[in-house]
C-alpha cells in the first residue's frame, strides 16, 4: 500500500507549554483515521502541523516522501494536495459559493475559469448543494456551509483530507448531512484524518481510531478494539463521557 | 505602479528646470517671480483672475527688458524667502521691506518705494493717535512680517497681534479687540476708501523702503534688476540729459 503521510516523534510547544510530546503516525492511501481525545489534548494542533499552519519544534512530517517543515520551499503546492475542513467553516463571506470554490483552482492551479466552473458544478452536485451555487455563505445553514467547505477543499483534488471537528459547531439536526458527505467521501477512497467526537461515524467509517491525550498517542486500534475493549484507563473514562 | 514612477520622474525633470542665473532665465524663456497677491494695490487678484498691481508692472518691465515672459508664482508672504532660497522663484516682488535680518539671507535691489505706515482706527471713537508712541499701552493688529509689524514690535509697551492677512487685522479692529491697525499707507488708503467707518489718523515716515529680493550671491541678476529699476526712476528729461550730455563726455 502507498504511504501518504508519516509523522515521527512530533513535538510542538506554544511558548513554554508543550502541546505535542512525541506523536507518531502513519497513514496509507484510502485509510480513514479518526482522532479522538479530550479538548486541549493537542488534536487540532496536530492536524494543523500536518499542513504547516503551525510550525513545530522537533520531529518529522513526511508527506508523499517529502518533508514538511519551515524550510519547505513548495509549501503552497503541497497544501493544494492536503485539503482542510475547519470547525468554523471559514468560508469567504464576500464571495458566492461558486466563487469560494473556484478561487484556489484558478489562482493557484491556474486552470481556466470555465473548467473550474464545470468542476464546481460536479462537486456541488455531489454534496447536494447545486441549487446554492450563487448563494452567499451568510444565507446558508451551518450544515450547508460545512458541505460547501468540503466541496471547496475537494476542488483542489487533494490526496489527503484533514477534518478539524467539522460538526462541533453545528446544531445537532444538521450534523447528519455533513457526516453523510464525509462517509461518502471515505467510501470513494479518499485518505482522511478526522478529529471528531462523533463515535457513530468513527465506528462506521474509521479504519483506525487514535486517542490523543496530553500530547501523546495514548491508544491506537480498530474501532472495535478501542470502543469495545479500551486498554487505557483514560480512554475508558473518555469514552464513558461522550457515549 | 509603473505609471506612478513615470509621473514622479516627469515631475522631477520639470522641477530641475528651475534655478535662476541670467543665462538660465533666458534659456528657459521666462522670469519667475514670487509674490503674495493679497496686498492691494501692490499685488492682488483682479476680477479677471489675474494677478495685477504696482509690483507686477515692475516685474513685467524686468521681464520685458530680459526679453522673456513673466510667470507669477503666488505664495504666502512668509513662504517667499524660503521659495527664493530653494530656487522655486527668481525674484521676490512683493512690497517687501528691506530689513537687516532679511538682507542676511537674501540680497535686495535698490529701494523702489517708501514704506510709509498708516495708523488706522475706528472713526466713531475719540482715540486718534498721531504718532507711534501714542499707541503705547494699546492693542494693535498688524500683518505678520510687514513693515507695520516691524515698527510696532520695536515699542515694548504696545500689545501686538499678528495676522496672516491684513483683512483679518481689520476684522479684529471692527470687532473691537484691538484699538488700531498699522499697515502700509497705500494699502490702508484702499481699505479706508471702501470702509469709511475706519479712518487714517496718522501717516508715519518710517524710513523703511521696499526692495526686490534676489537669491544671495546672484550678482548678475541683481545688477540687471537694479539697472532696470534705475532706468525706470529716470524721467524722459533725465534720459535726454544722459543721451546728449553724459555719453558725449
Amino acid at each position: 500500500m502507498n504511504k501518504i503521510l508519516e509523522v515521527k516523534n512530533l513535538h510542538k510547544s506554544f511558548g513554554r507549554l508543550e502541546v505535542l510530546k512525541g506523536i507518531n503516525l502513519e497513514i496509507f492511501q484510502g485509510e480513514t483515521i479518526v482522532i479522538i481525545g479530550p479538548s486541549g489534548g493537542g488534536k487540532s494542533t496536530f492536524l494543523r502541523c500536518i499542513n504547516h499552519l503551525e510550525d513545530y519544534q522537533s520531529g518529522e512530517i513526511i508527506f508523499l516522501g517529502k518533508k514538511i517543515d519551515k524550510h519547505t520551499s513548495n509549501l503552497n503546492e503541497i497544501r493544494t494536495k492536503i485539503g482542510m475542513v475547519f470547525q468554523h467553516f471559514n468560508l469567504f463571506p464576500h464571495m458566492s459559493v461558486l466563487e469560494n470554490l473556484i478561487l484556489a483552482p484558478t489562482k493557484v492551479k491556474k486552470i481556466s475559469k470555465e473548467e473550474a466552473v464545470q468542476k464546481a458544478k460536479v462537486i456541488l452536485e455531489r454534496v447536494g448543494l447545486i441549487e446554492k451555487i450563487n448563494a452567499y455563505p451568510d444565507n446558508l445553514s451551518g450544515g450547508q456551509k460545512q458541505r460547501v467547505a468540503i466541496a471547496r477543499a475537494l476542488m483542489m483534488e487533494p490526496v489527503l483530507m484533514l477534518f478539524d471537528e467539522p460538526t462541533s459547531a453545528l446544531d445537532p439536526e444538521l450534523v447528519g448531512e455533513v457526516l453523510e458527505v464525509m462517509k461518502d467521501l471515505a467510501k470513494s477512497g479518499m485518505t482522511m484524518i478526522v478529529v471528531t467526537h462523533e463515535m457513530g461515524f468513527a465506528k462506521e467509517v474509521a479504519d483506525r481510531i487514535i486517542f490523543i491525550d496530553k500530547g501523546v498517542v495514548a491508544e491506537e486500534g480498530s474501532p472495535e478494539e478501542i470502543m469495545k475493549n479500551p486498554k487505557n484507563e483514560r480512554t475508558k473514562s473518555f469514552l464513558r463521557h461522550i457515549l | 505602479m509603473k505609471k506612478w514612477v513615470a509621473l514622479f520622474v516627469v515631475i522631477l525633470i520639470i522641477g530641475t528646470i528651475f534655478s535662476g542665473t541670467l543665462a538660465e532665465i533666458k534659456a528657459r524663456g521666462k522670469l519667475i517671480i514670487g509674490t503674495e497677491p493679497t496686498f492691494p494695490p501692490f499685488e492682488y487678484v483682479s476680477e479677471n483672475n489675474e494677478i495685477v498691481g504696482f509690483d507686477i508692472d515692475i516685474a513685467q518691465r524686468i521681464a520685458d527688458e530680459l526679453g522673456v515672459k513673466l510667470e507669477i508664482q503666488n505664495l504666502p508672504f512668509d513662504s517667499l524667502i524660503p521659495a527664493l532660497m530653494s530656487d522655486k522663484i527668481d525674484l521676490i516682488v512683493a512690497g517687501m521691506t528691506i530689513t537687516e535680518k532679511r538682507a542676511k539671507v537674501i540680497d535686495f535691489s535698490i529701494p523702489y518705494f517708501n514704506a510709509n505706515q498708516a495708523i488706522v482706527v475706528r472713526g466713531d471713537e475719540d482715540f486718534k493717535p498721531v504718532k507711534l508712541d501714542d499707541l503705547k499701552g494699546k492693542k494693535v493688529a498688524v500683518q505678520l512680517g510687514t513693515t507695520g509689524d516691524l515698527v510696532v514690535s520695536d515699542i515694548k509697551e504696545i500689545k501686538v497681534t499678528r495676522f496672516q492677512k491684513f483683512t483679518d487685522a481689520f476684522l479684529e479692529l471692527e470687532n473691537k479687540r484691538v484699538d488700531a491697525v498699522v499697515l502700509d499707507e497705500a494699502v490702508a488708503n484702499a481699505y479706508v476708501k471702501t470702509f469709511p467707518k475706519f479712518i487714517i489718523s496718522a501717516v508715519i515716515d518710517t524710513g523703511e523702503k521696499y526692495g526686490i529680493g534676489v537669491k544671495k550671491g546672484n550678482k548678475e541678476l541683481l545688477d540687471f534688476v537694479n539697472s532696470v529699476l534705475s532706468n525706470m526712476f529716470k524721467s524722459p528729461y533725465d534720459l535726454l540729459v544722459e543721451k546728449w550730455f553724459e555719453e558725449t563726455k
Partner: protein, 216 residues
C-alpha cells in the same frame, strides 16, 4: 445685501478653488491608499526589516505637523536636488501624510478579520499575497470604509494647508477675494459653506457605497 452678493459674484472663482481642493484631496487619498495598504500590512509583518520601517514611518508622519511636512517637501527637498512644483508637492506631502493614517486604519481592518479566513486561504495553497489580495483586504476594506471616509473628509479640510506653498485651492482663492473686496466675514462664511457641501457630499457617497457593499 452686499455681503451675499459678493459671495455670489465670486462664486465661480471660489468654485474653481473647490475643484482644486477636490482634485488635491482625491489624488492624495489615492497615494495614501496605496501607501497605507502596504505599510499597514508591513506593520503586521513578522519580518523585522519590513515591520520596523513601517512603524517608524507611521509614527514619524503622525507625530509631526502636516504643515511642516508640506514645507519640507516643497522647500526642503530642493536641497537634495528634488524640485517639485507646488501642486505635485502638495499631493506628495498630503499623500505621504494620509498614508500613515490609512496604514493604521488598514492595520486595524486586517486585524478585524478572523484568523480562520487567512488560514483557510493558505490551506488551499494561496500565497501570503494572494490571501491578502483576494480574502483579507477585500473584507478589511469593507469594514474600514467608514474610517476611510473620515480620512477623506479630514484630508479635504487639511488640504487647505497647501495654501502655504501657493496652491490656489479654495482657502487661498478665498483670501484673494477678500483682499480684493475686503468682505472678510462673508467670504469666510461662503468658503465654510462650500467646504461643508463637499465634506457632506463625500460622507453621503461613502455611506451609499457602504450600504451597497453591505448588501453584496
Amino acid at each position: 445685501m452686499e455681503a451675499i452678493s459678493v459671495v455670489i459674484t465670486n462664486l465661480p472663482f471660489l468654485l474653481l478653488g473647490a475643484w482644486d481642493t477636490l482634485k488635491l484631496t482625491f489624488f492624495s487619498v489615492l497615494i495614501g491608499l496605496v501607501l497605507g495598504t502596504f505599510i499597514g500590512m508591513g506593520r503586521l509583518s513578522k519580518i523585522k526589516v519590513i515591520n520596523i520601517p513601517s512603524t517608524v514611518y507611521v509614527e514619524f508622519l503622525r507625530g509631526t505637523p502636516l504643515l511642516v511636512q508640506i514645507s519640507i517637501v516643497y522647500f526642503g527637498l530642493p536641497q537634495l536636488g528634488i524640485q517639485l512644483q507646488a501642486y505635485p508637492a502638495a499631493i506628495v506631502a498630503l499623500g505621504l501624510n494620509s498614508g500613515a493614517y490609512i496604514a493604521e486604519i488598514v492595520r486595524a481592518g486586517i486585524q478585524s478579520i478572523p484568523k480562520g479566513q487567512y488560514e483557510a486561504a493558505r490551506s488551499l495553497g494561496l500565497t501570503h499575497w494572494q490571501a491578502m489580495r483576494y480574502i483579507i483586504l477585500p473584507q478589511a476594506f469593507k469594514n474600514i470604509l467608514p474610517a476611510l471616509g473620515n480620512e477623506f473628509i479630514t484630508l479635504t479640510k487639511d488640504s487647505s494647508l497647501a495654501s502655504v506653498i501657493g496652491v490656489t485651492e479654495l482657502m487661498r482663492r478665498g483670501q484673494f477675494v477678500i483682499t480684493r473686496t475686503f468682505q472678510t466675514f462673508s467670504i469666510y462664511f461662503g468658503i465654510a459653506l462650500i467646504y461643508f457641501v463637499m465634506t457632506f457630499t463625500i460622507s453621503r457617497i461613502v455611506r451609499y457605497v457602504e450600504k451597497r457593499m453591505a448588501v453584496a
